[in-house]
C-alpha cells in the first residue's frame, strides 16, 4: 500500500469529520500562527532598524558628556531589580553640564593628532533649531545646524555645487551656509540651479535674531530611509560653521556631543576602548561628568538582542500552545481510534497488517497537523504583515520560518499521533470486529 493511498485515505477520513478535524487543528493553527506572526513582525522590525542604522552609519562613534552617576549611561540601571532601580532614580540628580565640562577643541586636536592613523573623521555639530526663510511668495524651511567639516562625511552628503564648511569658515566666523537642492528649489521657486544659487544670500531669523547667510554649497537631498515617515519631508538641514552659530547664539565653545568615524580597516571595538580611556584621562578630576563612548553598532546589537528576546519569549508561549495543540490532536486521535475500532477490525480481517494500520493513523495525525500548520502560516504571515504595516515597517515574512513551522507541525503530528496509532495497530481483530 503506497504512501499516496495512505494520504488519500487520511483525507477521506478528515473530510468525513470536517468540523472535528478543524477543531483539532485549532491549537496547531494558533500556535504556528502566533510564532509566524511574531517572527514576521520581529524580522520586519529588526530588518528596517538595521537598514536605518546603516543609513545613519553604524560605525559612527558618539562621544557624549554624561553625568558620572547617570544610571542609564553607566549601565547600572539595567542590572538591578525594580526596587533598586527606583532608589537609584530617586537618588539621581540631574545637573546641567557647564562650559567647563564640555569637550574642547584642545582635547579634539590632541586626540586627532594621537589617533590620526585610525581616525577618518571628527564631526561636531550643534542643532540650533528650525528656521524658515521667505523670499516673496516662496518659502523654505529647515533645521539650522552648526558644524565642522567632518559633518559632511557623517551625514553622507553629496555636494552638487560649491563646497562644504571648512576650518577657515569656522576660524573667520563666516556667515555662509550649505543648503540642499530642495531648499534652493523652494526658496528660489525653481528659478535657480544649484550652480546659480552659489553666492546668493537668504534671510531668516532664529528666535527673533535676524540672520543672513550666503550659500557656499548645495548638497543633494536624500529622503531618509527612516522607518517612520516624516510628515514634513520638505524640511532639510541648513549647515553653517559651528563657531558662527555659537557666536550668533552667544553660546560658549565646546561640545556636548562629538561624532567620530574610524578608518574602515580599524576594529571599532578596540578603537572605542582607546577613545574612552583617552577622554577619561581628561575627566578623571571632573567631579560630576565624564565622556561616554557609544556606537550605533552597539545600539543595533542591543536592539536586535531585545527584539530577539521578545520574539523568543512569545515563541515560548506559542510553543506551549503548540504543545496543547499536540495533546489535542492526540486526544482526538484516541477518540477516533475508539470510534473506528470496528473499521480497524474490518481492515485487519481483510488483510491489513499492524504496521499498515499504524501508518494510516500516523499519516492522518500528520496531515491534520500539516493542514493546521499551513493555515497557521497563512494566518501568521497575514497578521504579521498587517502588524508590520500598521507600525509602518515593510513586512518581511520569512520563507524559512514558514517551512520550518510546517515541518515542525508535521513532526508534532507524528509525535502525538504515534501513541493512538500504536493503540489502533495493537487491536485484536476479533475483539475489534465485535465492537459496537
Amino acid at each position: 500500500m503506497s504512501i499516496f493511498e495512505n494520504i488519500h485515505l487520511a483525507f477521506t477520513s478528515l473530510r468525513a469529520n470536517k468540523l472535528r478535524s478543524l477543531l483539532t487543528m485549532l491549537g496547531i493553527i494558533i500556535g504556528i500562527g502566533s510564532v509566524i506572526a511574531i517572527t514576521t513582525v520581529g524580522d520586519s522590525l529588526s530588518g528596517s532598524i538595521t537598514k536605518e542604522m546603516d543609513g545613519f552609519g553604524a560605525r559612527n562613534v558618539t562621544l557624549t558628556v554624561t553625568q558620572k552617576d547617570d544610571p542609564f549611561a553607566n549601565g547600572t540601571a539595567f542590572d538591578l531589580s525594580s526596587d533598586d532601580f527606583n532608589a537609584i532614580l530617586d537618588n539621581f540628580e540631574y545637573k546641567e553640564p557647564s562650559s567647563d565640562d564640555f569637550i574642547t577643541d584642545e582635547m579634539l586636536n590632541e586626540y586627532s593628532q594621537k589617533f590620526k592613523d585610525q581616525l577618518e573623521t571628527v564631526a561636531v555639530s550643534n542643532d540650533l533649531g528650525s528656521i524658515s526663510a521667505t523670499n516673496g511668495r516662496y518659502k523654505a524651511g529647515g533645521s539650522l545646524i552648526g558644524c565642522n567639516p567632518g559633518k559632511a562625511a557623517i551625514d553622507k552628503l553629496q555636494m552638487l555645487s560649491g563646497r562644504f564648511i571648512t576650518d577657515k569658515d569656522n576660524q573667520d566666523l563666516r556667515a555662509i551656509a550649505v543648503v540642499s537642492d530642495l531648499f534652493v528649489q523652494q526658496y528660489f521657486g525653481g528659478k535657480l540651479t544649484a550652480e546659480q544659487a552659489l553666492g546668493q544670500s537668504f534671510e531668516t531669523d532664529l528666535s527673533g535674531t535676524p540672520l543672513k547667510f550666503y550659500i557656499a554649497g548645495v548638497y543633494q537631498y536624500k529622503e531618509a530611509d527612516g522607518s517612520v515617515p516624516t510628515s514634513k519631508k520638505q524640511d532639510t538641514n541648513v549647515y553653517i560653521p559651528i563657531a558662527s552659530g555659537n557666536q550668533l547664539l552667544q553660546k560658549s565653545n565646546g561640545y556636548q556631543t562629538v561624532t567620530l568615524q574610524s578608518k574602515s580597516d580599524v576594529d571599532n571595538q578596540v578603537f572605542m576602548d582607546r577613545t574612552r580611556s583617552f577622554f577619561n584621562s581628561f575627566y578623571a578630576r571632573n567631579p560630576n561628568f565624564t565622556v561616554s563612548v557609544s556606537s550605533m553598532e552597539d545600539m543595533m546589537k542591543s536592539v536586535t538582542k531585545m527584539t530577539q528576546s521578545v520574539q523568543l519569549g512569545i515563541s515560548a508561549i506559542a510553543g506551549i500552545s503548540l504543545l496543547v495543540g499536540g495533546i489535542g490532536v492526540m486526544n482526538i486521535m484516541m477518540v477516533s481510534v475508539t470510534e473506528r475500532t470496528r473499521e480497524i477490525g474490518i481492515r485487519m480481517a481483510l488483510g491489513a497488517k499492524s504496521r499498515v494500520i499504524l501508518f494510516q493513523f500516523i499519516v492522518e495525525a500528520m496531515i491534520i497537523c500539516m493542514i493546521g500548520g499551513l493555515i497557521g502560516v497563512g494566518l501568521g504571515v497575514g497578521l504579521g504583515s498587517l502588524g508590520a504595516t500598521l507600525m509602518h515597517y515593510p513586512a518581511k515574512p520569512s520563507m524559512v520560518s514558514a517551512l520550518v513551522a510546517v515541518l515542525f507541525s508535521m513532526g508534532i503530528g507524528v509525535f502525538f499521533g504515534y501513541y493512538p496509532a500504536k493503540r489502533a495497530a495493537r487491536l485484536d481483530p476479533i475483539e475489534a470486529l465485535r465492537y459496537e
Binding site: 468525513a16 488483510g351 491489513a352 499492524s354
Partner: protein
C-alpha cells in the same frame, strides 16, 4: 470415500483445541479436538446452536485466531506456525469473509470497499478498479458502485460484501450467518449468489449458520454441539432458478 481423498484439501484440521483464559480460574475449553477436512469445490454448512463453538471455529478457520493445540493447514499453509503478519497475508490472499452485519467501511463507496483487500495486497489503482467493477457487475451492483453503505439496503450491502470477498480470488469463502440480518426474500437472493458461485465457478464455500433450514440446502452439513462435531452428512442439492 476414496474418490473424495484424491481431491485437493483446502482445510485440514486435526485435533483442534481452543481454550480461553488458560491458567486462570475461569479457564474454558471451547473446542475439544476438532477434525475437519474440506476439499476444493465443496459447499459446507457448519451448523450449531449458539454456544456450540461455531464462532470460535469460524475465527480459527478464518485465521483471525490460532488454536491452542492441534494442526491447521489452510491451502497448504501451516497456520499454527504463522506470524501475525503471515496471518494477515493468509486472510488477505486465501480467505474471503462475508459477515452477518456486512462490515462495510462507512463513508466509503461500494467500489472502494470492494477494492480494499486488493489495496492491502498492493495492486495498482487501475487493476483494483477494473476488477472491483467487474465483481460489482456480477453481483448486480454495478450501477451503485459509487454509493456509500448508508445509501444501500441490507441485501445490497451484502452483495457488495460478497464482491469484496471475491476480489483476491481466495481459496475459500467464509460466510458467517450471511443472511442473519436480512429478510427472507433478500436472504434467498444472497443464498442464490452463493449457490451460483459454487456451481458455476466451483468456489469452496464454508457457511456458518444456526439455521437448519439454510444448512439443509448445502451439499455437506457439519453439526457442532458443545465444541465437538456430532455429525457430518450429505445435504440436499439446492434447486436454484438462475
Amino acid at each position: 470415500m476414496m474418490n473424495l481423498d484424491k481431491r485437493t484439501p483446502i482445510i485440514q484440521m486435526h485435533n483442534i483445541v481452543k481454550t480461553y483464559n488458560i491458567g486462570k480460574e475461569n479457564e474454558l475449553e471451547i473446542l475439544h479436538g476438532i477434525d475437519l477436512t474440506v476439499y476444493a469445490g465443496e459447499f459446507v454448512a457448519i451448523v450449531g446452536e449458539s454456544g456450540s463453538g461455531k464462532s470460535t471455529l469460524m475465527n480459527i478457520i478464518g485465521v483471525l485466531d490460532k488454536p491452542t493445540s492441534g494442526e491447521y493447514f489452510l491451502d497448504g499453509v501451516n497456520v499454527q506456525k504463522a506470524s501475525p503478519d503471515e496471518m494477515s497475508d493468509v486472510r488477505n490472499q486465501k480467505i474471503g469473509f462475508v459477515f452477518q452485519n456486512f462490515n462495510l467501511i462507512g463513508r466509503t463507496t461500494a467500489q472502494k470497499n470492494v477494492e480494499l483487500p486488493m489495496l492491502y495486497a498492493g495492486a495498482s489503482r487501475q487493476a483494483r478498479a477494473k476488477r472491483a467493477q467487474a465483481l460489482l457487475e456480477m453481483v448486480g451492483m454495478g450501477e451503485r458502485r459509487n454509493h456509500q453503505p448508508n445509501e444501500l439496503s441490507g441485501g445490497q450491502k451484502q452483495r457488495v460484501a460478497i464482491a469484496r470477498s471475491l476480489i483476491n480470488d481466495p481459496s475459500i469463502l467464509l460466510a458467517d450467518e450471511p443472511t442473519g440480518a436480512l429478510d427472507s426474500e433478500t436472504s434467498r437472493h444472497v443464498m442464490d449468489i452463493f449457490h451460483r458461485l459454487h456451481q458455476e465457478q466451483g468456489k469452496t464455500i464454508v457457511l456458518i449458520t444456526h439455521s437448519q433450514e439454510l444448512a439443509a440446502e448445502c451439499p455437506r452439513i457439519i453439526t457442532l454441539r458443545d465444541g465437538r462435531i456430532i455429525s457430518d452428512q450429505k445435504g440436499g442439492v439446492a434447486h436454484v432458478d438462475f
